[in-house]
């Protein structure tokens, strides 16, 4: 992940990037102290805050997972890794993992693809841009309580709207709360409803930073819109794509609210059809008071997520390097770089460096 999220993407840009700070170092009179300490200073708020509100809970959870521990009664005997072996020996855990992965795949994959397409459409020179852009974010403002109520009504097995619509086109009612796979589809659609527009806006922000003349040049070259999408848009928003995929993965594997709201009991169905790992965790900790075991599940889930993040990272890199389009993108990048250097030179000649500093994103002609 480290190399992934750091800026250098190919051999050529890397040497470029690496040179940058050194230039700064010897060219100007600024104190070395400023240069050395600032980066740490800038990231310190996150880490300081994390130390207070994140690290303690994390370590506490780890400590709890090694003990017999009741939610109310507190610490019991030290049991080593017994909680982990217990959880791993439970069919409920594996079932929950299966459900989680199924819902995760049914939500994340279509969500990212649709978000990308919607973002590209929003990036076009639409009339009434504000309306469209804000419109896709509407699902995000609806309070969870309303989302839960609306969807449980829509997906009700007997009286629900979806089944009656299906009935009108001659399809038998689907057991949304009976069949495991059907329940996964219903829950995934709740997730997709809430997050697709959100991710589309995130991708849109990245697309807006793509210099417009790259498209102009491609148009002059006779590239179709579809081709431009794949050879310019997608490669140029790659860091943000990685961001979207990674956060959707993390969020998808931690999915809790939607399955919990899916019925009135909130524990994942009478046969655990939609019991996810976090629901299982909640059930262990809050219903059964077995906080030690719940903590073990939390840590296992944490490891699974890390595993998926690594896998994700590996796959995206594989796909990217196999894609010859990315070479085109790299060339385009070099072009941008050249042009901004050009611009920077001009900037240097002006008196106030601060003013045109915002120039690179201005390249967007809108």
């Amino acid at each position: 992940m480290a190399t992934q999220t750091a800026p250098p993407r190919g051999a050529a840009p890397r040497s470029d990037d690496d040179r940058a700070p050194r230039k700064i170092g010897f060219k100007q009179t600024l104190g070395r102290w400023d240069v050395k300490v600032s980066p740490y200073l800038y990231i310190s708020p996150f880490f300081l805050l994390f130390a207070v509100v994140g690290l303690f809970p994390l370590l506490y959870t780890g400590w709890v997972s090694l003990h017999e521990w009741s939610l109310i009664g507190g610490q019991g005997d030290f049991v080593g890794f017994d909680n982990f072996t217990f959880v791993l020996g439970q069919t409920f855990f594996w079932k929950a993992l299966r459900n989680t992965l199924s819902i995760f795949l049914l939500s994340t994959v279509p969500q990212v693809i649709v978000a990308l397409v919607i973002a590209a459409m929003l990036d076009a020179n639409l009339r009434a841009k504000t309306f469209w852009r804000m419109g896709v974010l509407l699902p995000y403002v609806v309070a969870p309580v309303a989302v839960g109520l609306v969807f449980s009504q829509m997906f009700a097995d007997g009286s629900g709207m979806i089944n009656s619509l299906l009935g009108q086109i001659g399809i038998d009612p689907i057991g949304w709360h009976k069949d495991a796979f059907a329940s996964h589809i219903a829950i995934a659609s709740m997730v997709n409803f809430r997050w697709t527009g959100y991710n589309a806006l995130i991708l849109l922000a990245a697309m807006q930073a793509i210099p417009r003349d790259m498209y102009e040049a491609a148009t002059l070259d006779g590239a179709t819109r579809i081709r431009q999408f794949f050879s310019i848009t997608v490669p140029m928003v790659r860091p943000t794509m990685i961001f979207v995929i990674l956060t959707s993965t993390i969020g998808g594997l931690q999915i809790f609210d939607e399955p919990r709201m899916y019925d009135a009991t909130g524990l994942g169905g009478s046969n655990g059809q939609w019991k996810t790992v976090t629901l299982y965790l909640y059930e262990l900790g809050w219903n059964k008071q077995q906080l030690g075991r719940a903590a073990a599940v939390a840590w296992l889930l944490f490891l699974i997520i890390i595993l998926f993040a690594l896998l994700n990272n590996f796959l995206t890199r594989k796909i990217a390097s196999a894609d010859d389009m990315s070479r085109k993108a790299k060339a385009a990048r070099r072009e941008t770089r050249r042009r901004s250097r050009d611009l920077a030179r001009r900037v240097k000649q002006t008196s106030d460096a601060a003013v045109p500093a915002a120039a690179p994103i201005e390249v967007d002609p809108r």
Binding site: S70, L71, I72, G73, G74, F86, Q90, T91, F92, S152, Q153, A156, D157, G158, S159, G160, G175, H177, K178, D263, A264, T265, L267, S270, N271, W286, N287, K288, Q289, L291, A354
Partner: protein, 431 residues
């Protein structure tokens, strides 16, 4: 120009954050730890959920006790309150001085009884029936909560659907039909067979699991041995009988799960004719059945009497003012005050004296064909003799059994035998 605007912004942001830190966030609410009682002035906090109906009562108490100020922390649903309750207990601080708890939380409280004050007192002697206080009493005899209200059960039925099936409709006759004072579950299902035989369309009852709840509430020792704590649910013949009997009458069930959307809308589609009805349940029937006529209540219950639900007031040991808190809880749960609360929220009071009051006795409910609900539920409350023993694993086992019923009754994905195996797995997983 630019520079100065920026500076202004920084200054504004800085000033705002300081001001914020200093004042805005506290909201004037000191928690239990912070209140000083130098001049004898103390602040008590009380937390409730749903509708305890205490707003006016608390004001009255403050007027009568000038040295006491009360802060009322109201939660919406009991689940919200329960999450806060558990978190605060787990963290070892942060509970109110007087905590409203649901009957369902008592097993946990009894398990950690050292966290709660023993409220045994002469002043509440004889206020409640023994079975009521037994629910909140530890094996050592400590009383952890004062009961506020209870949920005695009767049978609610649709007189119009009964008429269509050729059954009696008058509430006294229906009570007789179900077996009157000696009503049994066998009688209940016999009426069901009669109803179904008429073939009018609707099912007899709403949910197998709801019947199970009503029945289990009559079993003194359902799942766990009170002495050894051992789980006996799987070997308990009573439980197996409940399971087999109810599911063998699956043909009478509408196959719904309570509180789900399908169940709610079934009130409008004449899907069933009978529901077990604790006192607090009437509002639900009435709300879901808007526009439907014919609901009535019969003064009868299979197996005699049973209690479903109810709440208590407890005083956690983390309270800084346990004595004053106990006094407040005592006062609030006195018959007079609970009658006042009843007038607000309609929850059936648990106090013997309150139940016998004229006010309660004279009460009727228009939607249920003017049924004398006060009288009916007083009778139903008097018929209750036991409350089931609930050990630390009661709810895990109960929800496992619930799932077992619903797999057969609602999902129809398993035979009763297969589903019972699933229940065995769920019990085994308690480990």
């Amino acid at each position: 120009m630019r520079r100065s605007t920026r500076k202004t912004w920084v200054a504004v942001a800085g000033a705002a954050s300081v001001a914020l830190l200093a004042t805005a966030c506290g909201g004037g609410s000191d928690d239990a730890a912070g209140d000083g009682d130098s001049d004898g002035q103390i602040t008590l906090t009380i937390s409730t959920f749903n509708q305890f109906g205490y707003e006016d009562l608390l004001k009255q108490y403050e007027e009568e006790h000038p040295n006491i100020k009360i802060e009322h922390n109201k939660f919406g649903k009991s689940d919200d309150a329960k999450e806060q309750f558990q978190t605060a207990l787990g963290a070892g601080s942060g509970l109110a001085d007087v905590v409203g708890v649901e009957v369902d939380w008592l097993p946990q409280m009894i398990q950690y009884s050292d966290q709660f004050t023993d409220l045994t007192s002469d002043s509440v002697e004889g206020r409640w029936n023994k079975w009521t206080t037994d629910q909140a009493t530890t094996p050592d005899g400590a009383l952890l909560g004062y009961p506020t209200d209870i949920g005695p059960e009767a049978i609610a039925y649709r007189s119009d659907l009964f008429a269509a099936a050729g059954l009696p409709t008058d509430r006294e006759a229906v009570a007789e039909l179900f077996g009157g004072d000696d009503a049994t579950w066998e009688d209940f299902f016999a009426v069901g067979d009669q109803f179904m035989a008429a073939g009018t369309g609707p099912a007899f009852f709403d949910s197998a699991d709801a019947l199970a709840q009503g029945w289990i509430n009559q079993v003194e020792v359902p799942f766990e041995d009170p002495d050894s704590g051992e789980i006996i649910a799987l070997d308990n013949p009573d439980i197996r009988e409940i399971y087999d009997t109810i599911l063998s009458h699956e043909d009478q069930s509408a196959g719904l799960k309570q509180w789900e959307a399908d169940w709610t809308s079934a009130f409008q589609s004449d899907a069933f004719a009978v529901a077990l009805a604790p006192a607090w349940f009437l509002g639900n029937i009435e709300g879901n059945s808007a526009g439907v006529e014919g609901w009535d209540i019969a003064n009868v219950f299979p197996g005699g009497g049973g209690n479903w639900g109810g709440s208590f007031l407890a005083v956690p040991t983390m309270s800084k003012h346990p004595k004053e808190a106990q006094e407040l809880a005592d006062w609030l749960t006195a018959p007079e005050q609970q009658l006042a609360a009843f007038a607000v929220n309609g929850n059936f009071p648990s106090q013997i004296e309150a139940q016998q009051s004229d006010e309660l006795q004279g009460m009727t409910r228009e939607f249920f064909n003017d049924a004398p609900t006060g009288q009916i539920y007083t009778d139903r409350a008097a018929a209750i003799s036991v409350a089931p023993y609930k050990g630390e694993n009661y709810f895990t086992i109960r929800s496992g059994l619930s799932d077992a019923f619903n797999r057969v009754d609602v999902d129809k994905s398993m035979t009763p035998e297969e589903s019972w195996k699933g229940f065995e797995d769920a019990v085994a997983a308690i480990g």
